[in-house]
Amino acid sequence: MADEFDVEYIRGDDREARILVRGLTPAFANGLRRAMIADVPTLSIDTLRVVENSSVMFDEMIGLRLGLVPLTTPDDFEYGDTVTLSLDVEGPDTAYSGDLESSDPDVNPADEDVPIIQLNENPSGENQRIELEAEAVLDDGKSHAKQSGGVAVGYRHLRKVSVVGDRGEFDEEETNILRGVIETEDGELVPTDEFDHDLTERYPGKELEVEDVPGAFVFHVETDGSMTVEELVLRGIDSIESRADELQEKVAV
């Protein structure tokens, strides 16, 4: 049985996108969502070796902040692979994620302007300084939320909106809120934020019928920057495929 899928990018960029997929079952859509959140591995700092920390934060607090910095993750890494990054900043200055220097040119902070710690000047002594070496490990969202590449992944049914008549002349027009993406009678896909999620703004004075389009789901995918939306979706699909293959091997024995 071969499923026929139809995929269409509605709107978005490398970090956030809406994708319409037709031909899915709700179970498969949910499985894909869970795979993108918990099964796609990313690199995150897991261990610190602190040489000097004269800042006001404990080593462990700085480690917690560094662990949550998203790192770009190439697809040729395997579970357990590590990358070393170093940070050496002296006050008066603020240590940013962009100050992290990586041993691998393909692994860098996804955003360079995430503040880590503010280092002040001591007028009567040495300036505050932080010098450390960090080790980033590839792991998935199941082990820790910092390793999850999909930070906001969800889906809704595609709704078809049809005009069935005119509203009565003396009927009060109540707001008709709908979120997501609608398909008009012409087959046009319109995100609901274009009309403030209120159907009465797009169809004033009209009587409407709204129904779910079977098998059509609009995914809203947002990444933390460790990979693009397209890469996240593809790696999520790969993870489902590899788990299904493994199960098939075990069942076939």
Partner: protein
């Protein structure tokens, strides 16, 4: 164990007989210096 006097900022070495006092300025508030070992922190 090395300490630093909070007033004169000089490094102070304490022994069990001298008490908690800076031998240079007599101040009694000493700051403990961070150890020289590299500390490994598990980030979770």
């Amino acid at each position: 164990m090395s300490y630093k006097c909070s007033r004169c900022k000089r490094d102070v070495e304490l022994d069990e007989y001298g008490g908690v006092r800076c031998p240079y300025c007599g101040h009694r508030v000493l700051l403990k210096e961070r150890g020289g070992d590299v500390k490994e922190v598990d980030v979770k």
